[in-house]
Amino acid sequence: MIPGPFEYLRAGSIEEAISALGEHGDDAKLMAGGHSLLPLMKLRLAMPAVVIDISRIPDFSYVRVDGDEVAIGAGTRHYELERSEVARAEVPLLPHVAARVGDPQVRHRGTLGGTVAHSDPASDLPTALLALDGSVVVQGPDGRRSIPVTEFWLGFFETALEPDEVVVELRVPRTGSAGWGYEKFTRRENDWPIVAVAAVDGRVALANMGGTVLRATATEEALAGGASIADASALAAEGTSPSADMHADAEYRRHLARLLTGRALHTAA
């Protein structure tokens, strides 16, 4: 399969990428690792007239402590996050989940900013970021703004990004030694989750249970009210609208959400 024709631009800085987005508007797409966009282009589900390569922007890949938070450059590739000593010490859920994305070859290319901007409800890392209650730092022509993850993913492939904004950094609280759990159910190891659950610090996030990654709010409220893990996890599918596909029907996904939430909470405890 071969993508449709496009013009290829290489941004040397975030500002150049923003300016190219401003010039080409809806016809342009940013490409970092290309592991979400390029498959869509090969299937001709995406046919951007202009591809702006942001993978060579300097200082776009880093994991560092910044006050009470860990800041991660949007260009950080999954394998870099997986191996980051800072991430392992300060927010161990993230490198664990990074290591569950796709397979080694995919993790060598895919970036954290890319998976965040792509907004696939079945993505591993956005599920972890949602459970961590992190934020997405984006930059546009007027500078930077920070968007809480709870307000960033609006729907399937839809985000709060303006057309001329670029995801530049992800920020999550340092969780240190606090317990966490991640449960991912797949048929093959390198697949997207049929359902996945991330739990940390009393928060629970679900993958593939609706149009975006979701927080299991009923479970969280029950936990805050002192409910047992068994009782709280029984509420994990409340308010979700999972789809049906060849892997699982909606009821089976609800079952998995409850089951995996219980397991993730037990691991976190």
Binding site: M1, I2, G34, M41, S55, G102, P104
Partner: protein, 165 residues
């Protein structure tokens, strides 16, 4: 667009369309047909090559993204006089292939596995090769081959960059 890519130690400059995939560049432009295209959807790993020291699936990389990179394909592994790379030798000795279609990608991915972990357990080999499918289901001997190669030490994770004759 003009790209300069060092393929198996030999730098070359080619004029390519931006939409040309690295897998097609290697096969059609460079004439290196060891890199197979299987699923064409980043799933099967048959097109795995090493780019700047990391295993990647070349069906999901544009040639223009590899501008300036060092790319090693299966053809770049053997030494002078066709002496097999230790990973190739181990696949041969342990019968780590049946039909052979997945083998070029499997060998390149296996070198990537040892680059990360010089002495992996069976389970670590299986996890490291999770992105490579063998339709003959010959995984058992593939795992054995990778572990045999690991015994050969550093040579088995060496990615040649100099041109071999």
């Amino acid at each position: 667009m003009q790209v300069s890519i060092t393929v198996n130690g030999q730098e070359r400059t080619d004029d390519v369309e931006p939409r040309l995939l690295l897998a097609h560049y290697l096969r059609e432009v460079c004439g290196l047909k060891a890199t197979n295209i299987g699923c064409d959807t980043t799933s099967c790993g048959a097109c795995t090559v090493i780019v700047d020291g990391l295993s990647v699936k070349s069906c999901t990389v544009l040639a223009v993204q590899s501008d300036g990179a060092q790319v090693t394909t299966l053809e770049g592994l053997a030494g002078p006089g066709g002496k097999l790379h230790p990973m190739q030798e181990a696949f041969r000795a342990e019968h780590g292939l049946q039909c052979g279609f997945c083998t070029p990608g499997m060998v390149m991915a296996a070198i990537g596995v040892l680059a990360d972990n010089p002495d992996p357990s069976d389970r670590e080999v299986r996890e490291g090769l999770e992105g490579n499918l063998c339709r003959c289901t010959g995984y058992h001997n593939i795992v054995r081959a990778v572990r045999t190669a690991a015994q050969a030490g550093a040579a088995a994770r060496h990615v040649p960059q100099e041109r071999q004759s």
